[in-house]
Symmetry: C2
Subunit: 274 residues, 2 copies
């Protein structure tokens, strides 16, 4: 394998959700160094306006670029659907949002053409998923629903499949998806894989769930490989984490999203320095 | 009445909750001009660390002070319990948090001495309410519980007394209060008066609910009166609003908190300018 680029990959999210994408990325490319930024001082982004989301995304990316990174993974559904394409178009390194890869996976997986998308309020308000899916499969029917309580529920630890509050909220949010008989459902927020058990149980075994972070990690890996931009190392990649609120609370909460303990240091960066 | 100070009063909150306090204040003192700042670009504060909460509070107060105000009402339970006393001690104008007045009202109202406090995670983690109550009534027993989902539920519009999700969550959060048989319950977050109907129904009619914002508005009014700092106007006070995210979404959501339409202009101020 020709290995040409040992620079780290930058990954960011409004908070913790992006760690599900980092987990996928480090499984596919265990040798890559990764710098993660979680904007825990300003999480969540999902209820904010497009202008504010774009401003924060620009600051997050600028911070990651203060390290010499080779690519950016915007592991945040809200950022990916609110102006990231404009930011990516002006960037001299590849910037990946989670929409394109997830839309492609869903368009390939659906049999009936009925695809569901769930996400934050800002993600669903945007037409990013509709456009990406319809460009690939013009006959598709896209059914969307905003699920503003899923992120607070996950962050409050209400994630067990037997949790009655999660069950009640999920049944309400997923009702339009069941009614429309979608056969594929995009989990359009990187927090949602944590509650995929409950979502899958309610939707039924015949519905394919698309993990946006995991699909995007695959696409990013393919892009690096095709462009001879992989690291020389094939394992033992070094991970560093930066957050805009308390590093200790982040480290504690991160285990849930990583499915194991966080390796690597966690440092604080003030929002004023972004 | 001797009227000596026509400067406006500054009121701030992490977002919308503080409007419940503004509503009380403008009922008690309809002639006062009020400048409100809602940090909607960084809401919610309740899950953040003490350091971050204090940093944001300092910036919020500094912004309000860029107008020539005569007093500050920190209409945010999280700020009031996380270092506001330190900020107030160094201020040359009165700075009121919501803890003292609410603790005094609860200590005066309780018959059994068993007082409940509900609030955000950060508010409950602090010992601010315990200390304020025990200073006034050393024999009191203070029972606390963090209710991290109440703010997201209110902001998601799940506020109807018949809402099954709100009912389920509220029953879980209030269970320790009922078990301890508190006779007084402090609603330690300015969002909570919006769901006082559900809280009151679950707690039962014999339990007195203390609205922290309303109690603090009363105390602030008394302080201004005693110090001849009231405005000359006895009605028609002018209200101006500033928010760090989209003004239109704020105006829309504000009606719920104000119990009517918002009068006065709403302007945007970027978090970078705070």
């Amino acid at each position: 394998m020709i290995s040409l680029d040992n620079r780290p990959i930058g990954v960011f999210d409004s908070g913790l959700g992006g760690l599900t994408a980092l987990r996928s990325l480090s499984r596919i490319l265990p040798g890559e160094d990764i710098i993660y930024f979680g904007d825990t001082g300003r999480v969540p982004y999902g209820g904010r306006s497009r202008e504010t989301i774009m401003k924060y995304a620009r600051q997050d990316i600028a911070f990651l670029r203060s390290f010499d990174i080779k690519a950016v993974l915007a592991a945040c559904g809200t950022v990916s659907t609110n102006g990231l394409d404009e930011i990516a178009a002006r960037s001299d390194i590849p910037v990946f949002g989670v929409v394109e890869a997830a839309a492609a996976a869903a368009a390939a997986a659906t049999r009936s053409g009925r695809i569901g998308v769930i996400g934050t309020k800002a993600s669903i308000k945007s037409r990013a998923y509709d456009e990406a899916i319809l460009a690939l499969r013009p006959d598709a029917r896209v059914v969307k629903n905003a699920c503003p309580l899923f992120v607070p529920l996950v962050e409050a630890g209400k994630i067990g499949d037997a949790d009655p509050v999660l069950d009640l909220v999920a049944r309400e949010y997923l009702e339009p998806m069941k009614e429309a008989r979608v056969d594929t459902l995009i989990l359009g927020c990187t927090h949602f894989p944590i509650i995929a058990g409950t979502i899958g149980r309610i939707m039924g075994p015949e519905v394919r769930l698309v993990d946006t972070g995991a699909q995007t990690a695959l696409r990013l890996a393919r892009c690096l490989k095709e462009n001879d931009m992989l690291s020389e190392k094939e394992e033992g990649g070094c991970h560093r984490y930066f957050v805009s609120d308390n590093p200790d609370s982040f480290r504690e909460a991160a285990e849930l999203f990583l499915g194991g303990s966080l390796r690597g240091e966690v440092r604080h960066i003030s929002v004023d320095e972004l």
